[in-house]
């Protein structure tokens, strides 16, 4: 898969419609940012939809929403619908992004990032 070009190289829209049972993702920033960290709180059972089960397996260690999307090869807006289901059922924990939309980061956070980058 190449990153630079769009076009229909992903799952067909019909399939995405089925996965989300016709629901669409939030139209703006919602509960889930691209870098909200998802952590499973439980193991999947055979009763789970395959996509839900896959997320529960993937997120045994923390993973960002963007990483979940990448590993599942599903659009972010589809993934967030699935994550909302799991969150409602208490099966995952969502560790929210550090910087709320429309706010500037604080200096302590930036200092931490600077120190981390210095070690890179």
């Amino acid at each position: 898969m190449t990153a630079e070009q769009g076009g229909w190289d992903g799952p067909e829209p019909d399939r995405l419609y089925v996965i989300t049972r016709g629901r669409s993702g939030p139209s703006g920033p919602g509960v889930f940012d691209l870098v909200t960290l998802i952590v499973s709180l439980d193991e999947p059972t055979p009763a789970h939809q395959p996509e839900h089960a896959a997320i529960l397996r993937l997120c045994r260690s923390p993973l960002s929403v963007a990483e979940v999307s990448a590993y599942l090869e599903l659009p972010v807006s589809v993934v967030t619908v699935l994550l909302a289901d799991l969150l409602d059922d208490g099966l995952i924990e969502a560790r929210s992004a550090a910087v709320p939309a429309a706010e500037l980061p604080d200096r302590a956070l930036l200092e931490a990032v600077i120190h981390g980058l210095q070690r890179l």
């Binding site: 630079e4 769009g6 691209l34 990032v113």
Partner: protein, 206 residues
């Protein structure tokens, strides 16, 4: 490409796993024209092999004049590469490279919201792409720095001249960068962080 079921999904393994102690994630966005080196920069700094995420967006109002090969489609898929840098055992930084078609960058809900800031990667051979990007970032209030990727074949332009050519405000940093180099790309991110630090309000007392 189809989702084949949970058993076929291969997730991160070994060193690619984040420790459970990580509680906080932040992101920066690298913007720039097609082929300017965004993915190269992301690869240079990332601790994981860069991943690709995608979003489906409608074409309404996008100004697509020639939807080649997508007849009767009302939406399109835009893919974006990203990498990850563990900052500490609690904090992780994600670096996103915007897709090639500029018209999609600002339609991607949540890409710039909550981002610490952006790096505008500039190719001196195609400055016109950067004008548009810089204008959009300013409109959105996204703080950014400008990094000039030093392609060997590109004309070497003094940074002062580029600053005036791009009509950059005096406070916006502009630096030279070699996106292939981990150190140079890291330093570019550092420039952004130091700039953001200056912009950030001092912590409230008490």
């Amino acid at each position: 490409m189809d989702f084949n079921g949970s058993d076929t999904v291969v997730g991160p393994t070994g060193a690619d796993l984040l420790p459970d102690t990580v509680t906080t994630a932040v992101k920066v966005v690298v913007v720039g024209g097609f082929g300017v080196g965004k993915t190269t920069l992301v690869s240079a700094v990332s601790e994981i092999r860069p991943l690709t995420t995608e979003e489906t967006m409608t074409q309404a109002g996008v100004g697509v004049d020639d939807p080649t090969g997508v007849e009767q489609k009302t939406s399109t898929t835009v893919a974006m590469d990203f990498g990850r840098i563990s900052i500490s055992d609690r904090l992780v930084l994600y670096v996103f490279g915007t897709p090639g078609q500029e018209r999609f960058w600002f339609l991607w809900n949540g890409l710039f919201e909550g981002a610490l800031g952006a790096v505008v990667l500039v190719d001196t051979r195609r400055l016109e792409v950067s004008f548009e990007v810089i204008g959009r970032l300013e409109e959105r209030g996204v703080p950014f720095v400008v990094a000039v990727n030093g392609f060997p074949e590109a004309p070497s332009v003094p940074l002062d001249e580029l600053r005036s050519a791009l009509d950059l405000p005096p406070e916006v940093p502009i630096v030279a960068c070699d996106a292939r180099s981990r150190e140079s790309s890291r330093d570019t991110l550092m420039t952004l962080m130091h700039y953001l630090y200056e912009l950030a309000a001092p912590p409230a007392t008490g």
